[in-house]
Amino acid sequence: MTDPDDRDHHHHHHHDGETPHNTPLSGPALRVKALESLLVDKGLIDTKTLDEIVDTYETRVGPKNGARIVARSWVDPEFRKRLLDNATSAIAEFGYIESWAEDMVALENTPKIRNMVVCTLCSCYPWPVLGLPPAWYKSDAYRARAVLDPRGVLKDLGETVPTDVEVRVWDSTAELRYLVIPERPAGTETWTEEQLASLVTRDSMIGVAGLTIPDAQK
């Protein structure tokens, strides 16, 4: 599969159905295409490998992994204890991401403590459990202000934190990755672990959103 047009057909994430082979490339798209072609000629990369990497991150890694960990921590107090004590080894109990785990720390939200994660120096993020970060997490606006004015940033994202709740911001400055364990929503006492996992959002595990039961499921 060396025909670039053929490759492009396998990707469907272009704005407004635009396909790169029909539109003249410019800017970074052109530069990347030239670099890829140079690196193939240099014998440094294999094009099919690039397809495999993109597919892995588009389809096999994502916040569902983290959601299962959070749901387990809600129904299994012993697991929760292990997770808070040593997140790296507790997460390894999930066979499907066993060896994907980086050094992890789990942060417990309570009625009086809100945790929120940022990386002010780059965009460090727990890929194995949440996939790749959303654009806002990588934005200069978030990286600049999350440490200085976390309550303002939370308000931007639709969350108001009462003044009697402590806000803890975690700046990922080293090779530790943080997973926020949001509070379990009231009214889910009879839910199964699987149902609970479906409730857990990416943003709640970054610490910028609480969780509620959608009206349809009440």
Partner: protein, 218 residues
């Protein structure tokens, strides 16, 4: 280095805005940059800290106007040329003048294993810790021209050791000399008022992961 990547605490970037619907890679070329980086890293000519240092050296004005994946592309081009995997002439012309001196490339079948076998920064070495949980520490106010993971907003500040993560490779020397200089890494808690002055909410705090070399007893 004191460059524009070190953005924590700055004003003026506007509100944090979450995109309504977002793909893992919004554009084809972004996924290619991501995959190229991983496929090139396979050759072990650089480590993650060297990768971050390459991105930080993008000229500030250019950095601010570039998107996340354009910054990543700049870093990749820089690393490829500095490692001599390609020459700057080849990068500029797009034409390979000779094959690179490598014997293999990352293959599609090996992607899953590579993703799982992320090289960990944690080091199994018996290095004594300079501090224990609860100790008061003062951060360095050095202004290194090379890579560092001590952001400007937390330099010369007093905090408390919250947890000891164990022994890790030291990013500063690992980026500049491929010297891992194993030492203890701690989570250090700073009150919001220590970092941002008396108007910051008294209950709030910021946690950073900091190595022994950044800290002295307060």
């Amino acid at each position: 280095m004191n460059s524009i990547h070190d953005i924590g605490g700055m004003h003026g970037f506007g509100p944090v805005i979450a995109e309504e619907s977002e793909h893992v890679f919004n554009e084809y070329w972004q996924g290619r940059v991501f995959a190229l980086r991983m496929a090139c890293t396979f050759h072990e000519e650089w480590n993650a800290d060297m990768g971050r240092y390459a991105r930080e050296r993008m000229p500030p004005a250019q950095f601010l106007s570039a998107s996340y994946y354009e910054r990543a592309l700049f870093a990749l081009e820089t690393l490829l040329v500095e490692s001599t995997l390609i020459s700057s002439d080849e990068l500029n012309s797009g034409h390979a003048t000779a094959k690179a001196p490598v014997t293999s490339t990352l293959q599609p079948s090996a992607v899953a294993a590579i993703v799982r076998s992320r090289r960990k920064a944690r080091i199994d070495a018996d290095v004594p810790a300079s501090f224990k949980i609860g100790d008061r520490v003062l951060t360095s106010n050095a202004q290194p021209i090379g890579h560092t993971r001590l952001p400007r907003y937390a330099r010369g500040r007093r905090g408390t050791i919250d947890r000891d993560h164990g022994v890790f490779a030291f990013a500063d020397t690992n980026a500049m000399k491929r010297d891992r200089k194993p030492q203890h890494l701690y989570s250090v808690r700073f009150t919001a008022s220590e970092l941002w002055g008396p108007d910051a909410p008294a209950s709030d705090s910021v946690y950073l992961d900091l190595w022994d070399d950044y800290l002295e007893r307060a």
